[in-house]
C-alpha cells in the first residue's frame, strides 16, 4: 500500500529511452512474470495424475470455466483464454495494492482503460468471427435502423463505464484509506484495508462477468440487452 494524493497523476520511476516507465507498469510486469512462471511450472510436465500445483491451477481454470458457461449458456472454451486471463490478472492486480509500497495498477486510469479497450475489440472480434461481418453488422440495425446511433453509442459508453467502474472503485478505496489515515491515525484504516480485499475480488468478478455478458451478447444469435 502506497498512498498517493493525486488520482490522475502517476509516479515515474525511470525512463526507458523516450518512454517514461511508471510504478504501475513495473507492478504489471511483475504480475505478468509471476502468472506466466506459475502457469509454466504447473503445466511443464502435465500428467493425468498431476502434482499439487497442476491440480490447483486446473481447479481454478475449471471453476472459471463453469462460471462462464453458466453465464454464456454455451461452450465457454473459445473465450476462456481471454476471460480467464482477465479475471486472474485482475485479482492479482487489485490485491497487489495490499502489499506495502505497491500501487495497484488498476487504481490508475491507464490500466482499466487498456483492459476496457481489449474487451471492446474482443467483443467485435468474437461477434464477427461467430456470425460473419454481415450478420454482426446487422445487429446494429436491430430492432430498427433508426437506432443505429444509439447502438453505436451504447457500445462506447459501456466500455467507458467498465473502465470508470474499475478505476473509480480501486482509486476511491485508496483515497478513503489515505483520508482516514490523516484523520484518525495508524491502526484505524486496517478494517478499511480488509474491506479493500473484498472490493478488489468483487471488482475483478464484476469486470469479468460484464465482459462475459458482452461477449455472450455479441456471439449469440439473439439480441442481448
Amino acid at each position: 500500500m502506497k498512498l498517493q494524493l493525486h488520482p490522475l497523476q502517476t509516479e515515474i520511476l525511470f525512463n526507458a529511452g523516450p518512454v517514461p516507465i511508471t510504478a504501475e507498469v513495473v507492478t504489471t510486469w511483475v504480475i505478468m512474470v509471476t502468472l506466466v512462471l506459475v502457469s509454466w511450472l504447473a503445466m511443464r510436465n502435465a500428467h493425468v495424475r498431476g502434482g499439487w500445483l497442476q491440480s490447483t491451477v486446473e481447479v481454478a481454470v475449471e471453476a472459471i470455466g463453469d462460471q462462464i458457461k453458466a453465464i454464456l449458456g454455451a461452450d465457454p472454451w473459445p473465450y476462456i483464454p481471454l476471460l480467464g486471463t482477465l479475471f486472474i490478472y485482475l485479482v492479482f492486480a487489485n490485491l497487489s495494492g495490499v502489499l506495502p509500497d505497491v500501487v495497484a495498477p488498476t487504481a490508475h486510469i491507464e490500466t482499466p482503460a487498456a483492459l476496457a479497450l481489449i474487451v471492446f475489440f474482443s467483443v467485435q472480434f468474437f461477434g464477427i468471427k461467430e456470425q460473419g461481418l454481415g450478420g454482426y453488422a446487422k445487429r446494429y440495425l436491430e430492432p430498427n435502423p433508426l437506432l443505429l446511433p444509439l447502438n453505436l453509442l451504447s457500445q462506447i459508453t459501456r466500455s467507458f463505464s467498465m473502465m470508470v467502474r474499475l478505476f473509480g472503485n480501486m482509486m476511491s478505496h485508496e483515497f478513503i484509506i489515505a483520508i482516514v489515515l490523516f484523520l484518525a491515525g495508524l491502526f484505524v484504516p486496517v478494517p478499511f484495508m480488509l474491506l479493500g480485499i473484498l472490493i478488489g475480488m468483487i471488482q475483478a468478478f464484476i469486470f469479468t462477468v460484464l465482459a462475459t455478458v458482452y461477449v455472450g451478447g455479441a456471439v449469440s444469435a439473439t439480441e442481448a440487452k
Binding site: 490522475l8 453458466a70 453465464i71 467502474r165 462477468v209
Partner: protein, 80 residues
C-alpha cells in the same frame, strides 16, 4: 467566489446528491434479491450473480458523479 471555490462546492454537491439515488436503488435491489433467495434458495447462485451485475450497473451512476467531482478537483479545465 473564485472558480476554485465553486469547483470544490460543485464536487461536494456532485458526490453528495449523486450518491442518494444509487444508494436507494441498491437497497431496493438487494431487498428484492434477499426476498427472492428466501423464497427460492436453490436459485441463489443465479440470483446473486445477476444481483452483482445489476449492482455494478447501478453503482456506475455514483461513480460517474465521483469522476465528475475528481475532474472538478484535479483536472479542472477552467483553472489555469
Amino acid at each position: 467566489m473564485t472558480i476554485e471555490m465553486l469547483s470544490i462546492i460543485g464536487a461536494a454537491l456532485a458526490v453528495s446528491v449523486g450518491a442518494i439515488g444509487p444508494a436507494f436503488a441498491e437497497g431496493r435491489a438487494i431487498a428484492a434479491a434477499m426476498e427472492a433467495i428466501s423464497r427460492q434458495p436453490e436459485a441463489s447462485g443465479t440470483i446473486s450473480r445477476t444481483l452483482f451485475v445489476g449492482l455494478a450497473m447501478i453503482e456506475t451512476m455514483a461513480i460517474y458523479c465521483l469522476v465528475v467531482a475528481l475532474l472538478l478537483l484535479y483536472a479542472n479545465p477552467f483553472v489555469k
